[in-house]
Amino acid sequence: MTATLGYYPGCSQTGTAAEYDISTRACMAALGIESADVPDWTCCGSTPAHTVDHFLAGALAARNLTQARKAGFSRVATPCPSCLSALRTADARLAEPAYKAEVERLLGHPAPEHVDAVSTMQAIWEQAGAEGVRAHVKKPLTGLRVACYYGCILNRPPDLMAFDDPENPVVMDELLRACGAEIVDFPFKTECCGAAFAMPKLNIMTRLSGRILDMARKCGADCVAVACPLCQMNLDLRQGQVNAATGNDLRLPVPYFTQLMALALGLPDESVRLDKLVRPLEPALEAARARASKPAAGGVAPKEAKTCA
């Protein structure tokens, strides 16, 4: 094999977030970033595992680090922040002898050597960067006002994740700006969306996702770009539930940042999969086109956003 970067899709990307997987792979290929799947990968354990037991969480994640190592990867990229957090946590804690011993008992084999797990956003940033993206843009997202929403754990805690700024991350902003989009000043970049509480505690999710969507609207965004399958599901699929709970009538599209990139790179529809979004992106693209055709129309509402932040 030629690729030295392993790719770990994560469970959501085989189901509800298939478009994240598809558009991520397509963008990486278009930007010349080679990778190959971690063979026979399994669930990383995600949040439920560490809330039940830290050793179980470590073993479920470490099995995948083992698979990566067996395939010759010392670096693995995943689109999902929850997978990333699980893989990095396990890798870091395997340096503790007592922790490692119990994880090895659960695994039934020696723990893997160190694997550097990174987000696919980080891989794109480090291997292509804003300049690399800009060089490949064929259909710039001119006029499209985007709120970049990173979610809670993509860059946190900073000692563990070691990428971008934990309070004001900018990498997604820079990548989408390179695609020609207009990035709105969005103060809720890392606020929590309610995560996996949508099923057990719907009222918590609707309150937290509701204020994120509302802030994006107040900032004048046409859409909210995301990097997490759970954030996307809460903000898009469950936007109707959010509206019902908050009394709003928001209709904000919530594409993955890789879908916007794929659009800008001029990739075919089957690599973008906008048809998977519940809130259609087309009205946002229409607004952007209208804005681009008569420049200096302006009219965002940043003042309102500042008083509400």
Binding site: G15, T42, A49, H54, L60, G108, M199, P200
Partner: protein, 213 residues
């Protein structure tokens, strides 16, 4: 949401009521220096869940410092923490607060305390799905949760949007090789122990053991 915030700390005899074994166990299992918390409240200020907690996170930390085991392990907050890591990120003393919350939840689980039953039901259901398939089967998890939660219609309205967008995978997406069996083995060994004892108490009950049945 309507649950009033408790006032956990009334007049107390600090020395008489503190549980030293509990304090040591939380410190050991979380790997955190709990003494270094000086109650600045930064964790609570940034917590997106303070609104729903019965005890704000900095007070949970204080309860642990005081060795007030029963109050710390019976609160709802430790079940409502989403591990968003805002507290850990912002702690001026570098305490991994979210990891402390995790450890308290492990201890509460081991004692069968579940003030937020559905949160536990969801986590157990998720892990049961992983134990069975090697990966999470989202549709199976959602269906099982709908039945066990007693709220079968809560998400029924999402069905049409998911169906028309091909977001409902009817069959589990399984790993191709030995992954499914190896994950099942991890869960089997986890259930068998030997257990590290949460809460410093001797227990034979594996926390989350029922998750993998």
């Amino acid at each position: 949401m309507s649950t009033p915030m408790r006032t956990p700390i009334g007049p107390i005899d600090i020395e008489a009521e503190r549980d030293l074994a509990f304090m040591a166990a939380v410190a050991e299992q979380s790997g955190q220096d709990l003494k270094s918390c000086y109650q600045c409240g930064n964790c609570t200020a940034g917590c997106d869940y303070s609104h729903d907690y019965d005890i704000p996170v900095h007070q949970v930390m204080r309860l642990v410092q005081l060795g007030r085991r029963d109050e710390a392990l019976s609160c709802r907050s430790i079940w409502l923490c989403a591990t968003c890591q805002a507290c850990t990120t912002r702690c001026p003393n570098n305490i991994e607060v979210a990891r402390v919350m995790d450890v308290l939840r492990h201890m509460a689980r081991a004692e069968g305390r579940t003030p937020e039953r559905l949160v536990k039901t969801f986590a157990d259901g998720f892990l049961a799905s992983v134990a069975r398939h090697g990966r999470v089967f989202e549709v199976g998890l959602a269906m099982a949760f709908a039945i066990l939660s007693g709220k079968p219609m809560q998400d029924a309205g999402l069905g049409p949007a998911m169906l028309t967008r091909g977001k409902l995978a009817i069959l589990p997406h399984k790993p191709g090789g030995e992954g499914q069996r190896e994950v099942a083995e991890i869960f089997r060994r986890f259930r068998e122990g030997p257990r590290h004892a949460p809460g410093g108490t001797k227990t034979t009950a594996a926390p989350g053991g029922e998750a993998a049945k």
